[in-house]
């Protein structure tokens, strides 16, 4: 992979920060939607570089975080069955359900595997005809094309031992829910670059206009994020509310048409429950009628599992940008990555886990000393 250093250049970063400082005259609250952006901001200390008047709040775009507890319990119920090979993206393995996590199920003899692509399940299915291969198909629009491709190819190949446990969610309905909330503080968005690389950003335009909020489709490298913040601040200061594209090296307004086609062939939009938030209408995907045969919820009859979230965790408010991790009394105390109380502490992309991993549970006075490091 080339051109990483170019997007992490300290001199250019300092220039962008200076431009933001000059552009900004009012205090602004900006939400970065995607968990990958949150991770990059905290990992690189970008929020500490910004002028005091600019507050970044962390959005709902962490796929592991927003997967509802009941769906995790369904996954665990399936993974515990003999004869099942349960396949998942890596960071789902440590997410606790009502009774342990996938690592615990694995240590109890369950066959749980990390896959890097959903398509890996096809090979497993052919190699293990006596086993049921179940893929935990979670995520936003970003993972939807590859997950759809699994169902599509499984049908083409006539595989009967593959199924998907689908918990797919969509970004625009979540943004709409955040903006419609009476508690909303968010004045502008860094829209998610990888989601828009798949579906484009046409859908964001009516939202920006209706709520009069600027949105800048932004990438994930430090300079991407700083440039995205600059573009958003310039819009805010001049009273504009448009959708702009910072991540133009990766995506165009219309997104990726073949990816959209495969999604449309396999999935249809449906209501979805979001962890910590509740049900948002028309906010996710389910398998289309002709692919229902690949629905793991039906195949393993786990549709009836309905788990309520624990009340202590404020993950829901964190995912909506109403609160920050340190606003939670349990953060860094009872709730750590070793003993997470909620989903935002589990995934590397969750705001609480990112804050914890990069030392945000420590006092600022401990951190300031790094400034003294000779360059």
């Amino acid at each position: 992979m080339k051109y990483l250093d170019e997007y992490r250049n300290g001199d250019i970063a300092a220039k962008l920060v200076e431009r933001i400082r000059r552009a900004q005259t009012n205090p602004w609250v900006i939400m970065e939607v995607c968990g990958g952006q949150t991770h990059s901001i905290v990992k690189n200390g970008i929020d500490h570089l910004l002028p005091k008047g600019i507050e970044l709040v962390h959005g709902p775009g962490c796929p592991v975080c927003v997967t509802p507890l009941e769906m995790i319990d369904k996954a665990h119920a399936i993974a515990r069955r003999p004869g099942v090979i349960f396949c998942s993206f890596g960071d789902m393995l440590r997410v606790p359900g009502s009774n342990g996590d996938l690592f615990t199920i694995k240590s109890n003899g369950g066959d749980v595997r990390v896959v890097y692509s959903p398509i890996d399940c096809l090979k497993l299915a052919r190699g293990n005809p006596d086993k049921q291969i179940v893929f935990f198909a979670i995520g936003f629009e970003t993972t939807a094309p590859a997950n759809a491709m699994l169902a599509w190819q499984a049908r083409q190949m006539g595989l009967t031992n593959v199924s998907l446990l689908v918990s797919h969610v969509l970004v625009p309905p979540a943004i709409e829910a955040i903006l419609s909330s009476p508690e909303n503080r968010v004045q502008a968005f860094l829209a998610p670059g990888h989601v828009c690389a798949v579906v484009g950003y046409r859908e964001y335009e009516p939202l920006a206009a209706r709520f009069h909020v600027p949105m800048v489709v932004t990438g994930f490298e430090p300079l991407d994020i700083l440039e995205g913040v600059l573009m958003v601040v310039e819009q805010l200061e001049s009273g504009r509310a448009e959708v702009e594209n910072q991540y133009s090296r990766v995506l165009a307004r219309g997104g990726n048409t073949p990816a959209q086609d495969i999604i449309a062939k396999v999935f249809e939009v449906s209501d979805r429950k979001w962890r910590g938030v509740g049900t948002i209408p028309q906010s996710g995907f389910k398998l289309r009628q002709e692919f229902r045969g690949f629905d793991a919820e039906q195949r393993f009859q786990v549709a009836a599992i309905d788990t309520q979230e624990p009340e202590i965790c404020i993950a829901g408010q964190i995912l909506q940008g109403i609160k920050k991790p340190h606003d939670c009394p349990a953060f860094g105390a009872q709730c750590t990555p070793l003993h997470p109380l909620g989903a935002t502490m589990v995934s590397a992309e969750g705001a609480c886990a990112a804050y914890y991993a990069y030392g945000r549970h420590l006092k600022d006075s401990d951190l300031i000393t790094a400034e003294g490091l000779p360059s």
Binding site: R8, G10, V42, S107, V114, F140, L338
Partner: protein, 366 residues
């Protein structure tokens, strides 16, 4: 391991039947994270092993035990190897088993001399595979200047092992008056790293998962005793052998984990500069794609040394003139502030904490 100790104190308040003699290990069973080198591993070692085997030598928790026996100073260590696949670009389980143990001795300042090997073989293992591994071990031992002087073999039923597991133990002679230990770092000391990070871990991962990258990566598996000897020679020539304070080979858990151990054991802070940490483009690309951090990825032929500022330049030059240290860098300093913590100045100018991971580093979803 101070965090673990604090937790423990809270958990071992005297109960109605007096003080509980053992800390509570609050996992009903072992999970993979207990082998990750992170917080879960530390908890396992502390709560299950150290509490039961306790003695001052063990409690030093260095990569090797340093022993005084009848006038001789010896270093003693052991390590098990369970890598899958057993053959990979740059080495195999046999070269790892030799070099890993040699390195654990060498980073304590010892001259590795003798090794023991114990093999657990799974029924059905092709004899040719075993011979290939043992050939590698013989070659690696010869090139590191050590001899296998004892060993053991067991065979388990098919399905009860994963082809072959090797445990190697080693003895080395501490024939110079070194004082190298994880608790030796002092404010002002410099942190030297002997080359590119993450080659081994990413090579194994890409083999195991069938991931294909543009460049062919190789494990960095190598015996470091020659490099260490060159560093000790230079420190002796400078009249400051004690200036080599701590050394570690950052295997599982990576550089982040060993630096946290040193910061914790020495009660000092550590400051790193991200821009100085060498990571190959291919390793960085793979880490980006998988959502991994090279600071936590395993190395099998690298060392991190904490050295006194007076001799840092000389030691760095000596490292660079050795073939296994050609890409050595000064990556940071030991500081008085924030004891027990590792901080890093990021390339873009921010600051982050580099903490110990709790368990396995998990690939991110997207």
């Amino acid at each position: 391991m101070s965090a673990t100790k604090t937790e423990e104190r809270q958990q071992t308040r005297p109960g109605p039947f007096g003080e509980c003699p053992l800390p509570i290990f609050d996992h009903p069973q072992i999970v993979l994270g207990h082998g990750s080198g992170g917080k879960l591993s530390a908890e396992l070692v502390e709560k299950v092993f150290v509490r039961r085997f306790h003695n001052p030598t063990l409690e030093k928790m260095d990569d090797q035990a340093q022993l005084q026996i009848a006038g001789a100073r010896l270093a003693f260590t052991t390590d098990s190897f369970v890598v899958t696949p057993i053959f990979f670009p740059g080495g195999d389980i046999g070269t790892l088993a030799v070099n890993g143990t040699v390195n654990d001795l060498a980073v304590g300042g010892a001259r590795p001399l003798y090794l023991a090997a114990a093999f657990i073989l799974e029924e059905g293992l092709p004899a040719a595979d075993l011979e290939r591994v043992v050939d590698s071990m013989a070659q690696a031992a010869a090139s590191a200047g050590v001899q296998f002087v004892t060993g053991d073999t067991k065979v388990v039923n098919r399905g009860k092992g994963d082809k072959l597991f090797i445990t190697t133990s080693g003895i080395g002679l501490l024939d110079r008056p070194t004082q190298i230990s994880a608790d030796g770092a002092r404010p002002g000391d410099k942190i030297l790293l002997s080359g590119y990070l993450g080659d081994h871990g990413i090579t194994i991962l890409s083999q195991r998962e069938g991931l294909e990258f543009d460049t062919i990566l190789q494990s960095d598996c190598a015996a470091l005793n020659g490099l260490v000897a060159a560093m000790l020679d230079e420190a002796e020539a400078a009249g400051n052998l004690a200036g080599i304070r701590s050394m570690r080979d950052p295997t599982r858990g990576g550089v982040a984990t060993v630096l946290n151990e040193i910061a914790d054991r020495s009660r000092t802070g550590i400051l790193l500069r991200e821009s100085e940490i060498p990571v190959r483009e291919s390793v960085r690309g793979a880490c980006e794609m998988l959502g991994l951090d090279p600071l936590y990825v395993a190395n099998e032929g690298k060392l991190v040394a904490i050295v006194a500022p007076e001799i840092a330049d000389r030691i760095l030059a000596a490292m660079r003139s050795h073939p296994l240290g050609a890409d050595s860098r000064l990556i940071g300093e030991v500081v008085e502030s924030h004891p027990g913590l590792v901080l890093m100045k990021t390339s873009v100018g921010g600051t982050r904490v580099v903490d110990v991971l709790f368990g396995e580093q998990l690939p991110r979803i997207c």
